[in-house]
Every structure is written in C-alpha cells, then in structure tokens.
C-alpha cells in the first residue's frame, strides 16, 4: 500500500485518535459506571493517551515513521486493556477496526498487518480470559473483522484523504504563487497597476508607490486618470482604456508610449504594457508602467557617444589614411628600382584604403598604359598596352582627373585579376609629375566597402607625390642602366694575355644594393715586360662614381704608359681627383707595377687595403708599407713607392675592402682569413680567385662590392710554349716573356737582345701571314738543349715571299742575329726554326 499522506498528517490523525481515546476514558469516569472499575487506573490510561496526543500534535512536523508506529502500538495496547477494564467487550471490534484502519492507512501493508496481528493477539488473550467457551468464533471475530473492515474503509478513506490533501496542496501552491507574484510585483522596478472596467485602481505595487509618490492605500479606489495622467492626456487615456475594454476576446496586450505625472506634479516619459484580463464576469485592465526617462537619457548619451566614436573613428581613419599615404610616398621616394616601388605601392594602397586590390598602370611615352604592378599579382605582360581613354584607368589618364565608379562594368577593369572579384566600387587617380601623366592608380572594393569622396581626395593628395616618385624612379633607372653599362665598360672585359704571368680577376657587385659600386681594377702592360695592376675604390655610387672611375682609369693608363714611376702616376691621379671632382670626392687606389723579369714589384698605396703576396715557400704576407692618404684628400700628399720581391712562383693579390670586411667583424680578422685561404689555396690564379670568392663571399651575395685581382709569376723551365694573338700588340708580350726565359736559361744581355730581336722578326712575319684582320694565334716555343737556344715560331697562315725591303730586311736580321734560321713553309702555315748557341754567362746562371 503506497503512502499517500505525509508524516505530519499521519501524526495529527494519530494524535486525534489518542485525544479521542483520552476523552472517552474521561467520559467513562463521568457517567455512572461499574464499581469494579478502578478509577485510578482509568485516569492513568487517559493521561497516557492524552500525553501521546499532545506529543503528536506538538511534534507532528518532526515525528519519524518508527515513532508513529510505536505510538500506534502503544495506543492499541492502551485501548485494548482500557476496554478490558471498562468491560464493554462489545466495543472490541469497533476499536479493533479503528486501529486497523490507521495501520492500513498510514503504513505499508507489512507494518499494518503486524499491528493488526498484535491487536488480534491482545484481543484473543482478553477473550480467552473473559469467556473461554468459544475460542474459534472469537478468534475469527478478533482477526477477520478488523481485516475486512480495515481494508475496505481504509481504501475509502484514502480517496477522501487524497482529495483533501490535493486541495490543501493546491491551496498551498496558490498561496505560494500569490506570494511569489506579490513578491515579483513588489520587487519589480516597473509599476504594476490594475484598474477595473471603470478605471478605478485595484492594484498598486511598491514600484508604483515609488514611481508616483502615492501609497497603495491612497491609490487603490481612486480613478487612475486623475491620479497619474496629466490633464491633456486624460482623454486619450480614456479612449485607450475604453478600446481595451471593448476589444473582443479575453486577453489583449498593447504597448503604449505615454507621459505620466507624479504626486508632486513633475512629469516623466513612460511606456506601458497594458493587458485586458477577463476573470469571469470581471474585466480588469492591468499594466506595467515603465519610467523610460533614464532609458531615454542613456539612449541619448549612447547616441552622443556613438556619434563621438564615429567621429573619432573617422578622424582616426583619416589620420591613418594620411599617414598611410605618407608611407606610400615614403615608399615611393626611396631610391629603389621602379618595379620595387610600384609593387610596394599597390600593396600599401590596398591596405591603406582597405581595398580588395590595387593596380598601378604606368604610362608609356606614346600615351599608352600598361600594368606596372598589381596587388593581385597580375603579370605586367598579361595585358597589352592600351591607349589613354580605354577602360576605367584609360579614362582617368585621359581626363587627368580622379574618378570614382560604383558597380562598374567588368570589361572596364584594366587588370584582369579584378574581374574575378565582386567589384562594386572603383577608385582611380592619375599619377602626375610635371603635368605629365606617369601612370594611373586604381583600387577596387567589394560590398559592403564603398569608396567615398574622402578616399578619393586623400588618394589624390598622395598621387601627385607618387607620380613624381615614379618619374624619379624612371630617371634613376635610366641613370643606373647608364652607370652599369659604363662600369661594365670600365672593367676590363678580357684581361691581357701576359706570357709567363697568370692573371685572374673577379668583380662581384653588391647584391642588396641596386646602385653601381665604385670598385674598379685594371691590368696594364706598360712595356719592358712590366705589368701595372690597379685596384681602386671610389667613395660613392651610381653614375657619378662610374664616371669618376672612367676618368681615373683612362688617366692612369695614360700616365702609366708615359713611363712615369708609380709614385708619380699616383701623384698625378691625386691632382686629377683633387682639382677635377666637383665636390669632395675620395678614392683609394693601389697601383702595383710587376716586373716579372726582375722578379720585383713596386707599389704605391693611397689608402687602400694592402696587397697580399704568397711566396713559393707558402708564407703569405701583406705589403703593409708605403700606405698614404686616399686620393682627393690632400692637394700635395707624398706618395712613396715601395719595392718587394715577387720571385717566380709567387702570387700577388689585390682586392677591395668588401672582400675582407664583414659587418660585425674586425677587418684584421678578414685579412687573416684571406691570408690563410691564399696559403692553402691553389696556385693557378683563376682557381685561387674561385677559392677565395667561394670561401669569403656568401652565396646570397655581399653587402658591398667585391673586386679581386691576382697575378702569378709563373716559374720558368728550360722550355716554354706560348700562343699569341696574331696582332702587333702581342709582340711586346712575347718579347718580355722571351727575355725572362732567356735570362732564366742563362743568356747574357747581348744575346737576350739579339735573340729577342730575331724572334720578334719571326713573330712579325707570322702576324703578317695571318692577314690584316688577324687569324688563328701563332705559337712561339723554345728550349735549351746543350747550351743551345732553339726557337720555333709557327703560324697557321699563308706564306708570303719576302718582298724587297721590309720583310727581306727582317729575314736578313734574323740570319744576322742567329746561328741558323730555317723557314719551312707548308700549306697550313709556316714555321721558322732558329738556333743560337749561348756563349755569354747570364746573370742567373744556367737552368734550374
């Protein structure tokens, strides 16, 4: 049997039972009764029952299940034995049934049966004491009757009890809801007012009291229109009220804007959510009234704030735009290549304008536009140049006016990349320089971004300067091209072939610098077998530096060929730089004259890093001495010439500071590194240069120009072979080589002069055979065999019979100077064999 009642109800019921029992006991004493009844015992039973009842009432809220069971059991025993004493045995079944009823009603089936069984045992014992004659009938009566009656009646009672409990719960809930509603209404910040159909106030919450200044007791029963509505709005309120009342349906809700009046006469704007409520016959109108003056004030404040923020945002945007434009201009004005500038510009314009894309079209000379750069990466050559007037960009160029277009025709977009975008807004400004259109800047945006006149005017401000920058960049590009060409022409394209000498040079322009540097070098055969090596560095870059290199180079060649001493050559150059350069120009210069025949170098150093010499024994050394100020610093500096040995097999290396100077490292470290590289490097100058460049110049290039020039005094043996260009200029080189070799193999001065003259005649002959335009190189070889110099001069041209005069004289010279001369003409060339037995003792003795 389920439990339907809460413990409190059960406790109370039981308490009533015991109270009733106690009352019955007292009644027993009051009415005439059997004298056998001990009054004292009855009073004790009554007192116990009354005590249980009192406890039951007092602690109904706190009693537990087992306590109730205990109380019921006690009550059962009390009643049973109380009855016994009273002697009214006919009441047994009735009392018995009451107990069962409670047991079954209050407890689970098992507990109830236990109670009933307890009661049955009690009755049976009593009946057996009173009348032992028919135990079976009495047992039946004692146990059966209460069971049947208890079950049936308890079911009935349960229904009744449930109904009662539900009503109670319902009412409790209703009370709670009302309390909550009141609480809600009273704590509501909004006034809650209800009126009846005549407009008389029936509800007035705390907020209404606060809002209007009237207390609930004052307000209720008063017409609302008179209390809170300003006079001029009362008619309108009446009409609204009536309309609410007349509206069909039970409930309707409306929202009103209204003005209300406080008790002190002050007014405030309000908002009312009004509902018609029909409860039975009664029609009520209730409304939440809200004071919106604070909200209005906040709204106004917020609006003002928003306006201020919008204004500030606009101001910031403009500032940003202006500074962005400054950035644009800065980017444009930096001296860089045109391609870099326009590529940078389109990206910046796109960012600054918050645009989807930006493109710069550059104007060609014949009023054509081509894509210079696109932030979308459209390659410039993807679109053929188009004339001014074509498309949006063309119109901007033609009208020379900024244009703003909304929802443009995609065909108008000069940048094909833009056609793929959802272009809604297009802005274009001409880039002007000296009233010339140098280009057009176009930016596009997709919704919701739309360009405004502000964007246009700001872009226009920047455009003029950008146009100027592009024009400058174009000039600069041109200048740079000229400078590059000039410098290339200034560096020797091919180093002269110097028999017996190995020469190699490297020039590496700075990578991250678009400018042409001022490093230069030169190799000048200056006669007598000597070679001038030049390494210079002009402070400054660009066209000016390149032209200075040009002047220095030609002047140095002229001075060197005039036969001046190195110191004199450099002195003259200093005069040139000092007087000719328009503004203070400075140049370092290292001028080295190599005399391979003598095995010496003479050098003058004007503020340049010292040359490096690697002797055959493998100990590199820098030629530190003789350094003076750079050219152009002093009008009359004293340049001193120094001399050092450059024995056969030795190498001399000239370089510019870019090779040994690296940012963050001391130049001494760079020079030490160079020295060790040279010591461990290959002998051949070409390989040595590669070795040095590979080790000292980073793969990504250098930050400064690097020039490197190496010369090796190739050691001689008792034989040599050299190929020479079939041109008169080769003769000098041949003679210097031959002199060196003859000296090496021990020829005396007279013999050297004779053999050189004879060999020169043979070589002149070979050049003659090659024809006026030159031809294949000719070959000179020589060997020393048994103290005899044997020379062969072989050409690959056509033999010509010696005419009377020059050539005949040449041949007779050869014959006069040499022991034997044989001319062996052949279809593919001629070889002249010459022999000369050495008689003199040469300076250097015999061959090594």
């Amino acid at each position: 049997m389920p439990e339907f009642f809460d413990l409190r109800v059960k406790a109370r019921s039981l308490a009533y039972l015991f109270a009733a029992g106690a009352g019955l006991g007292l009644l027993t004493l009051a009415v005439p009764h059997d004298p056998a009844i001990e009054e004292l015992e009855v009073i004790v039973v009554v007192a116990i029952a009354a005590a249980i009842a009192v406890v039951g009432f007092a602690f109904a809220d706190r009693l537990r299940e087992w306590q109730l069971q205990l109380a019921l059991a006690a009550g059962t025993l009390l009643l049973t034995f109380g009855n016994y004493y009273v002697g009214e045995s006919t009441l047994y079944p009735l009392l018995y049934s009451w107990t069962a009823l409670y047991a079954f009603s209050f407890f689970t089936l098992r507990v109830a049966l236990a109670h009933v069984a307890l009661l049955g045992v009690c009755y049976a014992a009593l009946l057996a004491i009173q009348d032992p004659t028919s135990p079976a009938a009495r047992w039946l009566l004692a146990v059966g009757a209460p069971l049947v009656i208890g079950l049936l009646v308890s079911r009935l009672l349960m229904r009744l009890g449930l109904e009662v409990q539900r009503t109670e719960e319902h009412q409790t809930a209703l009370r709670q809801r009302e309390a909550r509603t009141r609480l809600v209404l009273d704590t509501s910040p909004d006034a809650f007012v209800t009126t009846d159909r005549d407009g008389i106030i029936v509800t007035w919450n705390r907020a209404a009291e606060r809002m209007f200044g009237w207390s609930a007791s004052e307000a209720i029963g008063t017409p609302m229109r008179a209390l809170i509505i300003p006079p001029e709005f009362r008619d309108r309120t009446d009409r609204r009220h009536q309309a609410m009342i007349d509206t069909e349906g039970a409930v309707s809700t409306e929202l009103f804007d209204a003005e209300y009046q406080r008790r002190d006469g002050s007014r405030f704007p309000g908002e009312a959510t009004v509902a018609k409520v029909v409860v039975g016959e009664e029609v009520l109108v209730s409304g939440f009234l809200h004071d919106v003056s604070e909200r209005r004030r906040r709204q106004e404040e917020r609006d003002a704030l928003l306006r201020a923020q919008a204004a500030q945002a606009e101001a910031e945007r403009v500032t940003e735009l202006v500074s962005g434009m400054q950035l644009l201009v800065d980017a444009a004005l930096a001296s860089r290549s045109l391609d870099d500038i326009v590529a940078d510009l389109v990206a910046r314009v796109r960012d600054v304008l918050d645009a989807d894309a930006a493109t710069i079209f550059l104007a060609e000379e014949d009023e054509q536009l081509r894509i210079g750069a696109s932030s979308l990466g459209t390659p410039p050559d993807e679109v053929d140049p188009f004339p001014f007037g074509d498309g949006f960009a063309g119109r901007v160029a033609q009208r020379r006016q900024p244009l703003l277009a909304q929802s443009p025709d995609p065909a108008d977009l000069g940048d094909p990349g833009m056609r793929a975008l959802d272009v809604d807004s297009l802005i274009g400004v001409p880039l002007l320089a000296d009233a010339e259109v140098t280009g057009v800047l176009v930016a596009c945006a997709s919704p919701p971004r739309r360009f405004t006149a502000d964007d246009l005017s700001l872009l226009r401000l920047a455009a003029d300067r950008v146009g100027l920058a592009i024009s400058h960049a174009r000039l600069y590009e041109r200048e740079r091209r000229i400078a590059e060409t000039l410098q290339r022409s200034l560096l020797p394209e091919n180093l002269p072939r110097l028999p017996g000498l190995g020469v190699a040079a490297r020039y590496l322009p700075a990578q991250d610098d678009a400018d042409v540097g001022g490093d230069w070098y030169d190799v000048i055969p200056i006669g007598g077998g000597s070679v001038g090596l030049v390494m210079g560095d002009i402070a400054g870059k660009g066209l000016e530096a390149a032209s200075m290199v040009g002047r220095l180079r030609s002047a140095l060649r002229a001075y060197a060929l005039e036969g001046h001493d190195p110191a004199k050559v450099v002195d003259k150059l200093n005069r040139l730089v000092w007087t000719e350069s328009e503004r203070s120009q400075m140049a370092t210069l290292l001028y080295v004259v190599v005399d391979p025949a003598e095995g010496v170098v003479r050098w003058v150093n004007a503020g340049h890093p010292p040359p490096l010499i690697l002797d055959g024994d493998g100990a590199p050394r820098y030629l530190e001495g003789g350094s003076s100020v750079p050219l152009g610093v002093l009008p009359f500096p004293s340049f001193r010439e120094r001399t050092a040995e450059l024995a056969p097999g030795s190498t001399i290396l000239l370089y510019t500071d870019g090779l040994v100077e690296t940012p963050g490292a001391h130049i001494d470290d760079g020079m030490a590194r160079l020295a060790s590289l040279v010591r461990d490097g290959p002998e051949d100058p070409e390989a040595l240069c590669d070795h040095i460049v590979g080790a000292l110049v980073p793969a990504q290039g250098t930050s400064d120009d690097v020039a490197l020039l190496g010369l090796r005094n190739v050691p001689m043996s008792d034989r040599f072979t050299v190929q020479l260009a079939s041109a008169p200029e080769a003769l000098s080189s041949m003679r210097s080589l031959l002199r060196r070799w003859l000296r090496h193999v021990g020829a005396g001065d007279q013999e050297i002069a004779d053999i050189t003259t004879a060999c020169g005649e043979a070589a002149t002959n070979a050049i003659e055979h090659a024809g006026p335009v030159g031809g294949r190189p000719f070959e000179v070889s020589g060997r020393l065999l048994g103290g005899e110099v044997q020379l062969a001069v072989r050409d690959f041209g056509a033999w010509r019979d010696p005419r009377d005069g020059d050539q005949g004289r040449g041949l007779s010279l050869m014959r006069a100077l040499m022991d034997t001369v044989e001319v062996a003409p052949a279809p593919d060339g001629t070889t002249i064999w010459m022999r000369h037995q050495l008689r003199e003792i040469g300076r250097q003795g015999g061959p090594e």
Binding site: P525, A560, E562, S732, T756, E761, R809, L813
Partner: protein, 115 residues
C-alpha cells in the same frame, strides 16, 4: 698608337729632335714616320732621331727610318740618328747598315752639331 713607344718632338733653332722611347716594333712604327716628318718644317735644316732611350727596334722601325731618310733627302734636309754604340738598337742599325742612309752617332749633341 701603342703605348709602349713614346715620341717627343723638340724644336731647336734649325734642327728638330725627335725622341723615340720605349720599344719600337710594327705596332708603334705605323704612322710614326709620317708624324715625325710632319713635325719637321721646311725651314729646318735637319732632323735628329734620338734613339738613346729606345730599348728595342725591329725591322719595322728600321723601315720607318729608311723611309724618313728618303723623305728628308727629297726635301734636302739632313737626317742624323743618335744611338749609343753597343746597345741593341745600335747593333740592329749596324746589321742593316743604316749608316749608308744616314750617319749614326752615339749621343744627341754630336748628331745635332753634325747638321
């Protein structure tokens, strides 16, 4: 002009001195004769070709010298050559028997005073 050879012309009253320096081969000899000849005015009595600082001469230089001698002879002007004896240049002049065309002296002053 090849840079290995140099030419200086000195006008000394009625004599012109042409100082040829460096090494005179086919590269330098071309046109040198004409330039020297052009430097000798018709008023001059003669020309001294100064080879004292010339280190080398070949048959082209000799040819130039013979041509010069022929030209001056046509103008009735004297030609003298100065070349120190024993030096390579003098030896070559000797071999080609240049003295048949014009006298050769060991120094410039002797040559000048001979005109």
């Amino acid at each position: 002009m090849d840079g290995l050879v140099g030419l200086e012309i000195e006008q000394r009253r009625e004599v012109v001195i042409a100082r040829v320096t460096g090494e005179l081969d086919v590269a330098g000899a071309e046109g040198m004769g004409d330039r020297i000849a052009a430097a000798v005015p018709t008023s001059a009595r003669g020309l001294v070709v100064d080879f004292t600082e010339l280190e080398f001469i070949d048959s082209s230089g000799i040819a130039m010298l013979f041509e010069l001698a022929r030209k001056l002879g046509g103008r009735r002007q004297e030609l003298r050559v100065a070349a120190p004896a024993g030096e390579p240049v003098a030896r070559v002049l000797e071999i080609v028997e240049f003295h048949r065309a014009a006298p050769v002296f060991g120094d410039v002053e002797s040559a000048v005073s001979d005109i």
